[in-house]
Symmetry: C2
Subunit: 430 residues, 2 copies
């Protein structure tokens, strides 16, 4: 981690920014606070920085009315996010307020009696939950005066950054391994920003990006998941807010969340805690379950072994959007799963494919491989008696099946016939 | 057209159905009325049947409040659709209430000063406007006691039918040409219904479906765009309702709509007329423009030649979802374009691709080829002085770019570098 990523109090105090209720950055490890700025690591202990808020002025019922009267996107929660109050008037991709689908058919198949819901983030503008975090990072980039939005990516993030930058009038520059599949290159390139292939693997891409942030050449560049990470990560809180509001301002009993870096799961927990503290939902126990693919299961492996630390793995799974072998927030995920009475589980690639088909067949939702992971893990947790089918359960689908068509490439025609009734009858379709 | 598709008054009167404000079926040619039923052609003149409503009981302001308090999908307009009042409580795919994006960047590029909006239907559950019409057909199928939902398709419709049937607990059986591209087969097959390949071309598929409807083997089958067509087509009215409500209950001055069969354009006009008659919007002139690809431009060819009839063409364009060479509603489209002071125009495949990239680069919206057609035609109509850039203009994007990736397959990396700053500087990216 380069020293340039750490700001001193003096540096940032010189340029105050309006990010609404965001009061400061606070270290998750040692609690040290610094003013808001494009930094992500604590100057004291190098721990991760996150946003500290001042919510003290809010009246619960007034806040609830303000949210309910807000736009049908994440900016309805502007009072709880690091964004200026007038964020909804600025050009952005405006993700969120995606459907919470009551999944009665899937519930029947899985034996869930307490109410099963799929939070379907494939409805976002570029069809993955990444739109939530990128929209958030974009507002931070605007506040800090950045003019280029950047990231390293192998998929969903590249499209989200390209689209958001285009709408907001930012230059974008996305770095990817040079030999990525052509389909993914097209999805990232179509928004017209710079798309730079790096001769090397994804680790080489990330190393290069860290170097660029510390160099004068990176001046004015906001890397959404590096120097803007504390802001970016907060976007995931909106999943928690929406689920509770869509349930009629109630906490679900159980949530099943995919784990890549683990950030999403920790921020969903943070969002739920905030709603409780603000009085927007009644305080009651909830359990958070983490879902991984067996081919990249460092957190579930640690969970099952009873470890507090996560040993890195070399990913080998079709669930590419979750394939982070050394998840930064792994230890925090373990802590949340254990504290809330949840668990972390994994499923094989075959089970992922089966779960994608199960969700499509029962609810008409075509999920990305990451959605196959959460649905597959939900099924496994019920079979193992870990997840309680008599409780209200929410499963996240964080992406769209159109982006990972290869996973279900074996799916095909149920019959081939000649264009006449005789052939139709012979095929046994009536 | 088979005689079995025509119902007599007596047939249908025997089984009254609750489809809300829908009072009867009425022939668009001769005005002959028959009770609601699964029929689509007039028994008197074989003209197309459409829904006749009884809206007489509505108070304007009460209706407006009822709509605004409704769900964030097409069922907010249940009082204006052929569906029972409690439709929102039944299992369906619940499309609609998609974003109306204020496209300021695109407006600047095209020189539009009066306000330019993109109605982005890629946000629907299966990412095309077809979810609107299929959701509507599904409710008719339920009302008529059908148990199988069916269609012939080469793309978007297959996915919409598969997904909606899955959610609603219907059997689905979709007929496609047996040699369709593998990607399209997967998108249709993943929902787990019957997917039948017909040895023949799309015309053979359609001929077979007509035969099946007239046969006992087709008993209990609702073909969304054949025997359920009058209901199905009404789904497109919701585009008009949403655009006006999202503009603050105002008519746009100009709308650019893609033309396949032409049904969508005629129903958007019908929807606008209803809003005027109900007093929900102020009566004022509006212009409707039709958009086709040059490679399948029977309606724009007739428009430019001043003809009232449309001569069929053999389609040859990348805009496959618009490639209907003999559009059933072509004459009605010509009439509406002329009556409202609009026009019908077409663009080349190259202009379609340019327009897809233009929309992505300016607004972060990745459109299907059909969206490239409407944006490209909008640009051409402005350049030719036909569309007035000083007026409020809405352009429809009816599908998602992920479904027609091949169209922009040439898009790629802007640079390839080695993973170091020196190589980065050499590439001229700063």
């Amino acid at each position: 981690m380069a020293v340039q990523t750490v700001a001193s109090t003096t540096d940032t105090a010189a340029s105050p920014v309006d990010l609404g209720p965001a009061a400061a950055l606070s270290c998750r490890e040692c609690g040290h606070r610094v003013p808001l700025g494009p930094v992500f690591a604590c100057e004291e202990c190098f721990g991760p920085l996150e946003i500290a808020y001042d919510f003290s002025a809010y009246d619960t019922e007034e806040l609830r009315r303000r949210i309910e009267a807000g736009p049908a996107n994440i900016w309805r929660y502007a009072p709880l996010l690091p964004v200026p109050a007038d964020v909804a008037t600025k050009p952005n991709i405006n993700p969120g307020w995606t459907k919470l689908v009551k999944a009665d058919n899937l519930a029947r198949e899985l034996g869930v009696t307490g109410g099963l819901y799929v939070k379907d983030d494939s409805g976002n503008p570029t069809h993955s939950f990444k739109d939530r975090v990128v929209a958030q990072a974009l507002e931070a980039a605007r506040a800090f005066g950045f003019t280029t939005l950047s990231c390293s990516s192998t998929g969903n993030l590249a499209g989200a950054v390209g689209a958001a930058a285009a709408r907001a009038g930012f230059r974008s520059c996305v770095f990817i391994p040079h030999d990525l599949e052509q389909g993914k290159v097209v999805m990232a390139a179509v928004y017209g920003g710079e798309l730079v292939g790096i001769e090397g693997n994804y680790d080489d891409v990330n190393r290069f990006c860290s170097e660029l942030i510390g160099d004068p050449a990176g001046e004015g560049w906001g890397f959404v998941n590096v120097n803007l990470r504390p802001y970016y990560a907060e976007g995931s809180k909106t999943l928690a807010y929406e689920i509770c509001e869509q349930l009629g301002w109630q906490l679900p009993d159980q949530i099943v969340v995919p784990i890549a870096s683990g950030s999403q799961l920790t921020k969903i927990d943070k969002g739920l805690q905030e709603l409780i503290k603000l009085g927007l939902v009644e305080d009651k126990p909830y359990k958070i379950f983490g879902a991984q693919a067996e081919g990249c299961s460092p957190v579930s492996t640690a969970y099952k072994a009873g470890h507090d630390v996560v040993r890195p793995q070399k990913p080998n799974t079709i669930a590419k959007s979750l394939a982070i072998g050394n998840p930064a927030d792994g230890p925090y995920v373990l802590d949340i799963a254990r504290r809330t009475g949840g668990a972390v589980e994994d499923v094989t690639d075959e089970q992922v494919v089966d779960a994608i088909k199960l969700l499509a067949r029962t609810e008409g939702i075509f999920a990305e491989t990451a959605g196959g992971v959460t649905v597959g893990v939900t099924r496994k947790l019920i079979e193992n008696g870990v997840l309680d089918p008599s409780l209200t359960t929410v499963v996240l689908n964080t992406g769209d099946g159109l982006k990972t068509l290869d996973a279900v490439a074996g799916t095909g025609l149920t019959a081939t016939i000649r264009p006449n009734l005789e052939s139709f009858r012979e095929a046994g379709l009536v």
